[in-house]
Amino acid sequence: MESKMQRRTLMRTAAALPLVSLLRPATARAEVKEIRMIEAGGKSGESIEKGYGDPFTAKTGIKLVRESPAPLGKLRAMVESGKITATLFELGSGTMVHAKSLGLIEKLDWAAINPNPMFPEARNEYGFGYQYYSTGMAWQKGTKPLRSWADFFNTKDFPGKRAIPDYVGSAVPFALLADGVPVDKLFPLDIDRALKKLLSIRKDISVVWKAGAQAPQLLNDGEVQYAIAWSGRIVEEPKLVFNFNGAMADLAFICMIKGSPKEEQAAAAKLYHEMSVAKNQARAAEVVAYTGPSPDLDALLPKDKLFMYPTAKVNKDVQWVQNAEYWAEHGEEGNKKWETFKLSL
């Protein structure tokens, strides 16, 4: 499915190229009819459309066209080739810092966006942190509950197979927490120590997952008993439990592609404003259990579902926040160590 989508994107891109370059001078001052966003896809993409795209289109008449997936390589290809086919690009927190250093994204004009109140970490010079998500431990109801990361790594008292993400930044910090490193001393990470800790439960690591959907599937099928998973994939599964305690909160950003047309960037500012509106964020959270950056959001969310959301007060207080700067700097080195580690599994 992924490859089909990519192929379609490629074809569309290829077909659009000559037209875009021919028409650009003529349309430069014309009205913007649509803006394009490249995002992660799936339910998250749907939530962008329902929560922010629809009210944006209703107010401005400008359509929001989505396209997925959004790997950093695609952004690099677009900027370096000069064939900019979109205005907005979704990036993870660490990837955004990396993209900034590669010169792939624009500074945001926060004055033009004029946002409603939002958490400070979401208001980045280079991106709008639109979606909080948590990475933490999950299991099937009826399994012996874990209370801490030490429990996750204690396979004697908590027997069962484990699944961990195939993303170094979403796996190694937990190993250090389990090994006794306090949260405020996590960064800079001792990656070697973390991997050693992970190797200590090597026999019980059954799956290293790449796609977010794998974790709930593995838990539901009883392939593994405990998993490190993304909260939104777990909390709405009736048979599964997600523990926010000690989980890692992270933010996904919508960034502006370097060199995209100015008038489209101006139109995007209006979309950004819609993304800061608490009511819109509540509507997006109905589609997928990830939440936006408004401090006023809790009041608009259904009371019985508050436990699901990363930014709900009860959950936000027991989590810690990912260090994007660290990973932007150490991502490549971390990846090499991670791949080496996987060969020893």
Binding site: M1, E2, P71, L72, G73, K74, R76, T95, D166, I205, S206, V207, V208, W209, K210, Q214, Q217, D221, G222, E223, G331, E332, N335, K336, E339, T340, K342, L343, L345
Partner: protein
Amino acid sequence: MAKPIAERRQGVGFITPLLVLMLAAFNLPILYMLTLGFWSKEGGFTFEHYAQLLDTPIYLRVLANTMRVSLVATLVNVAIGYPLAYWMRGLSPRAQFIAVSLVIVPFWISILVRTYAWIVVLGNNGMVNRLLLWSGMVDTPVSFLYNELGVMIGMANVLLPFLVLPLFAAMLRIDDRLMQAAASMGAPNHTIFLKVFLPLTLPALAAGTLLVFILCLGFYVTPAILGGGKVTMISNLLDILINQIPRWEQASAVSTLLLIVTLAIFAGYRALDRKVGT
């Protein structure tokens, strides 16, 4: 047989557009990719990416791992595919048609769907394990998946048609009377197989095996899912280098190395083929 030169030249004229298209659509991007590995950030020629490649053991270890997994998967394919094709040769034409259809059908199903289907069949709660547990043959589920065994099963399933179909076609071309003649001359059945049948299928077997091996080298989805993410192939590494990091220069160096190794294997096959052929 030799055609007049003018006529041959005319033939070249007809295929020139195709050649140009192939060159532009396939070879230029590959050439671009290859040169990328020699560009430094400042825009000059450099060997630094290759130096890094050799300095980073993980790249070479993943490449070696890819070779090993591909080799074993190919051997598994041959071990299953050859007897299967041999068995199909002996069927009635009607049964052959059905058997060929069954071999081809997986071609029409997405590789992703097929890969996930194996989880339903071979997972801890899968059909096979439930049967084994129910029959009392095992006490705990057998780990078919999330290890190299799972990768082998998945890859064999995906690649089997690539081996079976050419092999079956080659076997069909072998005249039954060759084996009958050999039998009448007193050759025991195993001698007939080893001295007559097998040698006649070797070219197709070698070509099919090489094809399967080279396809194995590029596998991505199956090892990622059925290997539980623990069986790292070179494509997974390239995905990270191209999409996540993104370090295209390094990816280019790794790809170039893979291309060289693949071409070397192909050259070895050609040399062997020529030796056997004369």
